[in-house]
Subunit: 188 residues, 4 copies
């Protein structure tokens, strides 16, 4: 089996000013970095400057597409806006197709209220499936996200959250590894 | 009962170049215009120039918010992108909240393939509900949308499509009227 | 406007032994009874004895269909089983069609875990829409449901829950009233 | 890599009398049988006689649970009832949990109308994910299902349907193989 490190970027999926998801993404990113044999990168969709006068593969951002092409798995950190996904996250995701096929994705849902972004996660399932991604069955759930972090952006109850994210990342790494094996060794 | 005309704008929900949804929106718009007692307007989200460095009510477009405030019902014409809604449509919808409450919405799903945009319609249901909109149970379904129109943008099989949209608009007008009655006469 | 009392039955949507939803349904039922001008009834799907060798309108239970026919609105109390609805609830709901049209429904989601049945609520939206029901945009959410009630079935923190359910019922009653006005006075 | 045959049962997911899904299931079952290295079995949920006075793992049917335990992948053939899944299918699926983990599933949607059961497929995605199943991104879509078969149950346009199901099964076999490799060789 391939022993090359896995590449699992963390995508921060909102451009909203004051987004609590930024702290969540940084926390999850630092947790991914603790895993040996996993390379990562924090991708902030705000920095990608996608055009908004067109949509789909026509507006590919080469650097982002290369990141997706190279990835074995993804963490998507996304707030829940009106029980759905942020428009700009979808706008960005729709710019690739074959780059995602047979790769793993795990979602961290972020919400102001108490339900841990469960609804944005449900809403992404059909999209990820159509893109060829496999959504793992562990989620990150960050309820009341504005209150989870200190002023300097550090998570307050680190032990609890690190433990949960560890379970989530364990599953994501497993699925990323298994699908990479499939892509490299099993023909259709 | 209030006899003021209903106002039901048609929202063209994609910025994509070459969008088949534009012809669909124009066709539906012309059908709405045939209904006495209904005023309408074609709103192309491409013309709204929403900023993309923030999201939500912070980026309200005053003209669009006034249109939504004045509306009794909405037609949303939307393509299906990877089994979900176009990012820019969601980005625009998320800019209002109270403007939508207790109003009706009908969806025209547009797809290149054969399933009439059924999946984008399903994906919008939780969003519309959270926004306070009531999604009617008739849909417009435009399968193989690129082939439904002549080069000049006129629908080819007008009789069939007009008949279907008539059913759809009948239900949308009913729900718009009933909810307006409620907003104006029934206290919570 | 019609001043006949509204009829809003509460449906207990699971047959599972040890169901926490039974206490939730009884609590909500007692709250509905406090509303003047609203008649109600607690319908336990366990008592309906639907056959399971067929499905759909063929297996109509006359008493249940009459209850639905007479209803102006519904409260559905449902646990979340594997992020979806209980099979027996769907089996029962599918036995009617025209009985539901242009009526209101509110959902109380019940979960063992912390997310208040949000996912079963999302999963019911397409079904209710197709049945002609209007799902209101307030929900009842009962997280950790086994711990919310005393041994005798009384809710522990009555004040908090009564206040929340009052908001929910206010909206449900509004929508039931408005749609009844529409059914009785507005032609399609 | 393990060369033991894969086991991929086909589940016929409705008890409704006159179900068109029965012909679909038999057709798909016969296509699966053509694949070397794949064992299969047609499971008709009507034959399972699940009790309906309880729900979940408490009502396990031992033979069915053993089939699920042994399976590497599943084909679910399901009609769309009111834009959702048949109640009895969910009732049956909910009786297992660990039996499904890290296995593949493909869905054949069956509809009377023209949209190929797309909506029942979308509605199953959250359920399958929570059960630990990976839903592949090819579907079987059987629109107008009553008209696709001769009186003797044989599919009319066999060439077209066999070609499509071949693509679907190719993907399902790939995912079943890859996940089996993972279950047997990759630790979490």
């Amino acid at each position: 089996m391939n022993t090359r490190p896995l590449f699992i970027p963390v995508i921060l999926g909102t451009v909203r000013k004051g987004r609590a998801s930024e702290n969540v993404a940084k926390f999850v990113f630092s947790e991914v970095q603790k895993h040996e044999g996993v390379e990562t990168e924090l991708v902030d969709i705000r920095d990608l400057n996608f055009p908004v006068d067109d949509a789909g593969e026509q507006i590919k951002n080469i650097a982002f597409s290369e990141t997706c092409e190279r990835a074995d798995g993804f963490v998507i950190v996304t707030p829940e806006y009106n029980h759905g996904y942020p428009g700009m996250l979808k706008h960005v995701l729709d710019s690739n197709l074959k780059e995602y096929i047979h790769k793993a994705v795990g979602v961290c849902g972020v919400s102001a209220g108490g339900f841990g972004g469960t609804r944005v996660i449900e809403s992404l399932l059909p999209v990820f499936r159509e893109l060829g991604l496999v959504t793992i069955f562990w989620d990150g759930n960050f309820s009341g996200a504005q209150k989870l972090f200190a002023a300097d952006g550090k998570i307050l109850d680190e032990a609890t959250h690190a433990k949960r994210i560890d379970k989530f990342l364990g599953e994501l790494i497993w699925m990323s590894k298994v699908l990479r094996y499939g892509r490299e060794n099993v023909s259709i």
